[in-house]
């Protein structure tokens, strides 16, 4: 499926559409909105962004605002009383945090190139179903949101090259309630470029 084409920014676009595009532009806010839906949070929170990097800010009525995607996401999970999404025990929590940090540092910063990120994950996912432990955690959800645009751009043969990532990705996008704002990406199960690894 196609990304929404750019160029809608001209001043004649109706206000509603403009708002939609802006929120679309700010992927972090879209992610948080989707996460809220996934968590089943009833009343939507108020968000804004801060700085050049458009870091998301959660406006809190009775506490200072929270800043940062991971921070807010963890806060939402606690609010929804779904501690299992943050991992089991100190170790489990650490592994979840590890990948959340990877997401916002490596994946979002563009310091690393896409290939090395896919390589890391592919090796890591070789014997794993989820990023941390044996169940879906916030790490899977945010990594999925963050890596979506990369996977969307992969050619079939690249998806095969990073097969473990593609398998994990396909699994997460079909997890009930996770996908929300993102278009599904087609992942073929049967291999086409079989001789590649010879």
């Amino acid at each position: 499926m196609e990304r929404t084409p750019k160029g809608y920014t001209s001043n004649f676009v109706e206000a509603g559409l403009k708002l939609f595009i802006q929120s679309h532009r700010n992927m972090a806010l879209r992610e948080l909105a989707s996460l809220e839906k996934y968590l089943g949070l009833k009343k939507p929170n108020k968000y804004s962004t801060q700085g050049d990097k458009k870091v998301p800010v959660l406006q809190n009525n009775n506490a200072p605002p929270l800043v940062g995607l991971v921070t807010i996401a963890c806060h939402l999970v606690k609010e929804a009383k779904r501690p299992e999404l943050l991992g089991d025990g100190a170790e489990g929590r650490a592994v979840v945090q590890q990948w959340l940090e990877y997401r916002v540092t490596k994946l979002d910063s563009h310091i690393e190139d896409t290939k090395s990120i896919l390589k890391d994950l592919n090796l890591y996912m070789q014997d794993k179903v989820y990023l941390a432990g044996n169940q879906l955690t916030l790490a899977d959800v945010l990594m999925y949101y963050g890596i979506h645009s990369i996977i969307l751009d992969l050619a079939v043969q690249e998806k095969e090259q990073y097969m473990n990532v593609a398998r994990w990705f396909d699994h997460i996008q079909h997890h009930p309630g996770v996908r929300h704002h993102l278009p599904p990406v087609v992942v073929l199960r049967n291999r086409l470029y079989t001789s590649r690894h010879h």
């Binding site: 499926m1 196609e2 001209s10 992927m27 921070t71 910063s109 079939v156 043969q157 087609v186 001789s195």
Partner: protein
């Protein structure tokens, strides 16, 4: 638990500090910077904490947080926030600062780089009343930030004087037991110098890292471009040029023949297999893509011949004939007509649409065969095959079933096991059964001829080298070809024990026919030969003719390796492919197209949706699987129709025309170009150039975006200039309204030309509405693009009316249900019975078909029961509607199969 750190690595500082502060028991190993600790990270990742569970934590903040949580509470939201800020905001700045100070000796620039983050920290500390970042005790946030800032803040020369609160806090944390000793361990008291070897191994920080993270390169070029004065003047100059003198675009004279001095382009689309109704994926992959390019080539003034046809020989046809009680020839006749009518509806403008079951095919295939034979490129070998005595024939792989020799799955097919997925040789099957009569076939050996591909390999590689470097081969085509060559070529059998095929002329191989893969591509030649007797001027003329093959990627090896080998081996100066254009796959919604499960839209159903052919073409081209797989989605189709066609393109073209009609009595007003107008002309000219560059390289989908960009620019231009207001103003305002209107209709005229390959009917409608001269067609796409003012002041336009219609949500929902394949999941019939034939497969047939009629009658009865049941259960209206429409479809087919006219049963006007 073991912690791996290295000297001079600033990240290790906070980790060691955290270890000291928390007092957690843990072994510490110093390793060098290149030490590889984490098995799944190809790069060194220090510090790393090796957990008792065998997992690795490889980032410093996570390690610190873990150490703190081991003996304490979970970190608070506030702590988390500081850690995230440190990792995402502070670290990139620090990396830059350290790079400057340690490697470049530019310590003086450090304050500037760190100013932003330090201001944030300073303000926060000043505002809060607590000693530490998150309270009165040291938290993980303090240790992490302190450790991160230590290398910079501890060096007196870099001290930042105007951050008093930071300074106070920094000193407070430094006094915490353990912090200083951690710093000592990592930096060895050597200050910045200690980090030199570490910093040298880090990638140089980017000077600008504020790129928005969700923009891909393709999108960024679409942003606002700066247009120079020169570009504007050049655009205005082009604008004022005359249309090409030649009054009419040369109508094609058939037969089209190569012309000296012109670009002669021969276009083929992969030959669709005759007994399948093509689905949307087949259509976009081959014929539609080829059609767009062929039409475009003519606009560019090339001499284009576009041929295609149905591929008719093979076992599948034989079998289909047996099923339907017809001869193979009758089956081919019937389905050839189905194909023709589908492509006609999609406006695929073949110069000739032929078929492979012709005398020319026999003649040319046998000629190539004898040449290969004479040149020694055919070898003989015996092949073991299964033969069913009961059916009196050798069994093709797909007509055998048996037990998988690998996993013992009882229903493995002759070529592959569905359970374990392994490839099988049919003779290896245990307990094989003929799929038709269920008798046990026997193994027989029989002599066959093989094309000696290894012998042709060098010649092939030399040719491929030339063709792929000088021509436009898609990346997947090159990749698939390379992988075939890498594996080494093996001799390929070219004969088959069948009747329905081109007979092998060799006396030792009587009774045999050519294998379809050898035979089918020769169809391109024989189809051309049926078009013109002088076909060799196209096919044996590599110096004058450029050959474009269009296909989906599954067809690549036959066009890039096998068929070229046949032609190279035949040594008759054949025209080989110069540009191999392969698409990836188009999926249907979330899944694959499946005829047997009734999933997806097939060629013959598209017209029953009521959506115009041009809109289908537009959407399929918009999602053309160019470079990657894509998916057809109803919701997306509606969205693109409503947003791009209706609100963007259609809206713009309609507005310009309406202004001319309403404000200027139907005549194009005089235009006085201002700077702003010239700027628009330059922008539009640039988009036109991009379009031409992309189309020349057969990037059909990418080029389409530039058409839509132009109308977007146009809409914006109209909106900013508000001609509908200005027309009511004074003289100069009225003139301004005239200029804007005139420029707009001229852009509409340009758009009609650019749209021609994509939406031929709409393109013509636009020119009709504008009463545009036909000469604009062959002017605008010349050279790098020539946007001239084709509708001069005083030109009278025709009647303007809307070009597109909205696709409503309920309409789309109903279509989605209808083609979603639920009919099978909901049906209760046993799996062995073939599903009721899906929709309009038989529409074109004239005579009656009792067998089909019987099946259909059953299907109608069953569907009727289902609808009644749903109604009595008071099911959702939408579900009932969808089922009713299926019922009506089935009834329509039944009527056809019974030989009645396919009048739809009169609908009871219950509700609309």
């Amino acid at each position: 638990m073991e912690l791996f750190v290295s000297e001079g690595n600033p990240h290790c500082l906070k980790v060691l500090a955290a270890l000291e502060v928390t007092g957690v028991q843990c072994g510490v190993q110093f390793i060098n910077h290149e030490g590889k600790v984490v098995p799944f990270l190809p790069r060194p990742a220090v510090p790393t904490l090796f957990l008792p569970s065998g997992q690795h934590l490889f980032s410093s903040n996570t390690i610190c947080r873990y150490l703190f949580e081991l003996n304490g509470p979970e970190s608070s939201d506030q702590c988390n926030q500081w850690l995230e800020w440190e990792a995402t905001i502070l670290q990139p700045a620090l990396l830059r600062a350290l790079h400057l100070a340690v490697l470049q000796g530019k310590g003086s620039e450090v304050p500037k780089v760190l100013q932003g983050p330090l201001n944030v920290l300073d303000q926060s500390l000043a505002k809060g009343s607590t000693a530490y970042l998150t309270g009165e005790v040291v938290s993980v946030a303090d240790v992490v930030l302190w450790g991160a800032l230590y290398p910079v803040l501890s060096v007196s020369s870099l001290v930042l004087s105007d951050h008093k609160s930071v300074k106070a806090w920094f000193d407070r944390v430094a006094a915490v037991r353990g912090c200083q000793s951690a710093a000592q361990k990592v930096l060895q008291g050597k200050g910045l110098e200690a980090m030199k070897s570490y910093m040298q191994k880090q990638p140089a920080p980017q000077s600008r890292d504020t790129q928005p993270c969700n923009s891909s390169p393709a999108e960024t070029d679409e942003g606002e471009r700066n247009v120079s004065e020169e570009e504007m003047e050049a655009a205005a100059l082009t604008w004022s040029k005359d249309l090409n003198a030649c009054s009419h675009p040369a109508e094609k004279q058939h037969p089209v023949m190569p012309q000296e001095g012109n670009r002669n382009v021969l276009i083929t689309s992969a030959l669709p297999y005759v007994n399948n109704v093509p689905h949307l994926g087949n259509i976009i992959g081959c014929v539609l893509s080829a059609d767009v390019f062929s039409r475009y080539g003519q606009l560019r003034g090339w001499n284009v011949l576009f041929v295609c046809g149905t591929d008719e020989y093979g076992t599948a046809t034989e079998n289909k004939a047996r099923e339907e009680g017809l001869t193979p020839q009758q089956i081919c006749d019937k389905y050839h007509a189905v194909h023709s009518s589908i492509y006609k509806w999609f406006q695929i403008d073949f110069d000739f649409f032929g078929r492979t079951t012709t005398e020319k095919q026999t003649e040319i295939a046998q000629d190539i065969f004898w040449r290969l034979h004479k040149n020694g490129f055919l070898v003989e070998d015996t092949v073991e095959q299964l033969r069913c005595e009961n059916c009196q024939r050798f069994l093709a792989d797909r007509f055998v079933e048996g037990m998988c020799p690998h996993c013992s799955y009882p229903e493995a097919r002759g070529d592959q096991c569905d359970k374990c997925g392994r490839l099988i040789n049919a003779v290896e099957l245990r307990e094989p059964q003929c799929k038709v009569c269920r008798q046990t076939p026997e193994i027989r050996s029989s002599k066959h001829l093989f094309l000696d591909l290894p012998k042709l390999e060098t010649e092939l590689e030399n040719w491929l080298e030339r063709s792929t470097s000088s021509g436009d081969w898609t990346a997947n085509a090159k990749q698939i070809t390379r992988s075939w060559l890498r594996d080494g070529l093996k001799p390929r059998c070219i004969t088959r024990d069948l009747q329905w095929g081109t007979p092998v002329p060799h006396p030792d191989f009587k009774e045999k026919v050519f294998y379809v893969w050898f035979d089918a591509p020769i169809g391109y030649l024989s189809i051309t030969a049926n078009y013109t007797n002088e076909w060799e001027k196209w096919w044996k003329n590599p110096h004058q003719v450029e050959l474009y093959n269009f296909m989906a990627k599954d067809n690549v090896p036959f066009h890039s390796v096998v068929f070229p080998c046949s032609l190279l081996g035949a040594q008759d100066n054949y025209t080989l492919v110069s540009h191999l254009i392969a698409t990836e796959y188009l999926n249907y919604e979330d899944t694959k197209f499946s005829k047997s499960r009734g999933i997806g839209v097939f060629g013959d159903m598209a017209k029953d949706t009521g959506i115009p052919s041009d809109v289908w073409r537009f959407y399929l081209l918009y999602v053309r699987p160019e470079g990657q797989d894509s998916a057809f989605s109803w919701a997306d189709m509606a969205l693109k129709n409503n947003s791009e066609l209706l609100n963007n393109l259609g809206n713009f073209i309609n507005r310009g025309g309406m202004f001319v009609t309403k404000f200027f009595g139907g005549c194009v007003p005089a235009m006085e170009l201002l700077q702003e107008d010239k700027k628009l002309l330059a922008v539009v000219g640039w988009e036109l150039q991009q379009y031409i560059q992309l189309m020349d390289k057969v990037k059909i989908r990418d080029a389409l975006k530039h058409i839509l960009n132009i109308s977007r620019h146009g809409n914006q231009y109209i909106q900013v200039n508000e001609p509908w207001k200005k027309i009511k103003g004074g003289e100069s305002e009225r003139q301004r309204a005239g200029t804007v209107t005139g420029v707009s209709v001229n852009i509409a005229c340009l758009l009609s030309v650019m749209l021609m390959p994509y939406m031929p009917a709409v393109s013509q409608t636009i020119r009709d509405q504008l009463n545009a001269p036909q000469t604009c067609i062959n002017t605008m796409l010349q050279g790098p693009g020539t946007f001239v003012c084709a509708l001069r002041a005083g030109h009278r336009i025709g009647t303007v009316s809307p070009l597109f219609q909205k696709l409503e949500a309920d309409q789309i929902e109903a279509l989605k249900k209808r083609f979603g394949g639920q009919q099978i999941t909901a049906s209760t019939q046993p799996a062995a019975v073939p599903a009721p034939p899906v929709v309009a497969e038989v529409k074109v047939v004239n005579g009656s078909d009792p067998e089909k009629a019987k099946q259909l009658a059953e299907a109608v009865a069953e569907q009727g029961d289902k609808v009644r049941a749903l109604k009595s259960q008071k099911a959702e209206k939408a579900i009932i509607t969808a089922e009713v429409s299926k019922l009506l479809d089935l009834k329509k087919q039944l009527a056809v199969a019974e030989g009645k006219s396919p009048e739809p049963a009169p609908q009871k006007g219950k509700k609309k």
